[in-house]
């Protein structure tokens, strides 16, 4: 365009687009060709941003508390200031007690699970959800500093939650079982039929690689088989919700997870690697 300065940003936009695209393609290629192990860039970026997430979680908690306190104080100004203050205070205390009781119940359940299972575990709190709606991940507040490493199983009193995919020094990223990339070896508790459950990205799981002769029914409990080398054997995955047949073979087997992934607050990370049946390589 005549009269436009040579260094006008608008003239360089096309070049910038090409440069950014090439840069991203190179970045993606580097990861795709070296899929074994976690990329250093991912670990470093995650470590830094996890600290921000920790801060956001703390700030949100603080703001929530400040907001409740402000609303409660506003109510007390209406008629009898002293009496209402006392009532509000008691209400707040009651809510706090309820929250503490609820938290204690959850921790007790975790403790029960911790003592019940034969594997070594460590408790952790969920501090954030996934940053992209296309992936089902959460961030927990413990990482490599608490001996947590990649591919360690994460469980809750309700059942299997997922596995650790990235461990920064003070936080870890956990891939939930419902993520599209997640999978776990399973068996049906009643008939001992084997298969693999895979995430669908939604709130249900699909069971695959099941022999056509296997005995499956709606309502059957699905537990981990331990053959994947990540999840210890015998932990609850969920229940079979529906089974469809396609001739001799199974068409689709839908499993409803036992864990409510939308209300996870505390989890246990399994620190010991499960012994894979039939693996005599060591």
């Amino acid at each position: 365009m005549p009269g436009m300065p040579l260094l006008d940003i608008r003239q360089r936009t096309g070049y910038l687009f090409v440069a950014l695209t090439i840069g991203h393609v190179i970045l993606i290629s580097a990861q795709v060709t070296t899929q074994r192990g976690v990329p250093l860039l991912e670990t470093a970026t995650f470590g830094v941003v996890a600290e921000v997430q920790r801060g956001v979680a703390a700030l949100a908690g603080g703001l929530s508390g400040a907001w409740d306190g402000y609303v409660a104080l506003q109510d007390t100004r209406a008629e009898n200031v002293a009496l209402r203050e006392e009532v509000a205070q008691l209400q707040v205390e009651l809510q706090e007690e309820r929250a503490v009781a609820g938290q204690s119940r959850q921790l007790q359940e975790l403790l029960d699970l911790q003592t019940r299972v034969s594997v070594t575990t460590t408790g952790a709190s969920v501090i954030a959800g996934g940053a992209s709606p296309d992936f089902r991940t959460i961030t927990i507040d413990k990482g490599a500093g608490a001996a947590i490493g990649q591919d360690m199983a994460v469980i809750s009193p309700s059942g299997v939650v997922g596995r650790v995919v990235t461990a920064a020094p003070r936080a870890s990223k956990v891939q939930l079982l419902i993520d599209r990339n997640a999978a776990a070896g399973v068996i049906i508790e009643r008939s001992r039929a084997q298969g693999v459950v895979v995430g669908s990205g939604g709130d249900l799981l699909a069971m695959e690689y099941v022999a056509g002769s296997a005995d499956l029914r709606e309502g059957d409990l699905v537990v981990t088989s331990g053959i994947d080398g990540i999840y210890p054997k015998g932990f609850l995955i969920g229940r079979i919700e529906s089974v469809t047949r396609n001739g001799q073979d199974y068409g689709s087997i839908v499993v409803r997870p036992s864990v409510d992934f939308s209300s996870l607050e505390s989890v246990l990370v399994v620190l010991t690697r499960p012994v894979v049946p039939g693996d005599d390589s060591e």
């Binding site: 940003i9 608008r10 360089r12 936009t13 910038l16 687009f17 950014l20 695209t21 991203h24 393609v25 970045l27 993606i28 990861q31 795709v32 990329p39 860039l41 991912e42 970026t45 995650f46 941003v49 921000v52 997430q53 956001v56 979680a57 949100a60 969920v126 954030a128 959800g129 996934g130 940053a131 992209s132 709606p133 296309d134 992936f135 089902r136 991940t137 959460i138 961030t139 995919v165 990235t166 990223k173 891939q175 939930l176 419902i178 993520d179 599209r180 990339n181 669908s200 990205g201 939604g202 709130d203 992934f261 939308s262 996870l264």
Partner: protein
């Protein structure tokens, strides 16, 4: 000043996305707040700023997800570029064109993102249509609310100042 505003908006979008995503993690009608910010920057500041915003925000978002780093960044910088170019060529100040922009941006983003994963054989997306459509509507709603608030803000502040002056 505008750069700081964009950085704050991106940081806020990522923080909100990570904070609230665990509440709607099993829902299908999720929104991508970072994409909303990228489209907003594209329409208000042009393709260059939108590309850089999409690229950086996408990288952070990728790092916080379990996928390949760069996929979301490439998809978002592409959306930023085309939305910005489109915004420069056409008048996109009325509500309807903006809604169309948000819907189209979500579809392009999903196409590039899922297409790359499928092309490289890393993931499959059996029936993404409902999820993408839900996200497109969600992004459009959030985007329009954001535009309305940001554009109304200077007027509200000015009116309050004027009211205060007349009281004195």
């Amino acid at each position: 000043m505008r750069t700081v505003g964009v950085l704050v908006a991106v940081a806020l979008a990522i923080a909100l996305q990570t904070f609230f995503s665990r509440l709607v993690v099993n829902g299908t009608a999720a929104v991508d707040l970072v994409l909303v910010v990228v489209v907003y920057v594209a329409l208000s500041a042009g393709p260059g700023a939108a590309m850089v915003t999409g690229s950086l925000a996408g990288l952070v978002q990728d790092a916080l997800s379990s996928g390949v780093i760069g996929m979301g960044a490439l998809a978002k910088s592409t959306v930023g570029f085309f939305a910005g170019v489109f915004g420069q060529q056409f008048i996109v100040t009325a509500s309807l064109p903006r809604v169309v922009m948000f819907l189209a941006a979500t579809l392009v983003h999903a196409g590039v993102f899922m297409g790359l994963y499928a092309l490289l054989g890393l993931r499959t997306f059996p029936t993404p249509w409902m999820g993408v459509a839900g996200q497109a509507v969600g992004n459009a709603v959030i985007g329009m609310v954001a535009f309305t608030i940001i554009e109304a803000l200077p007027g509200v502040v000015e009116r309050r100042r004027a009211a205060r002056r007349t009281r004195h």
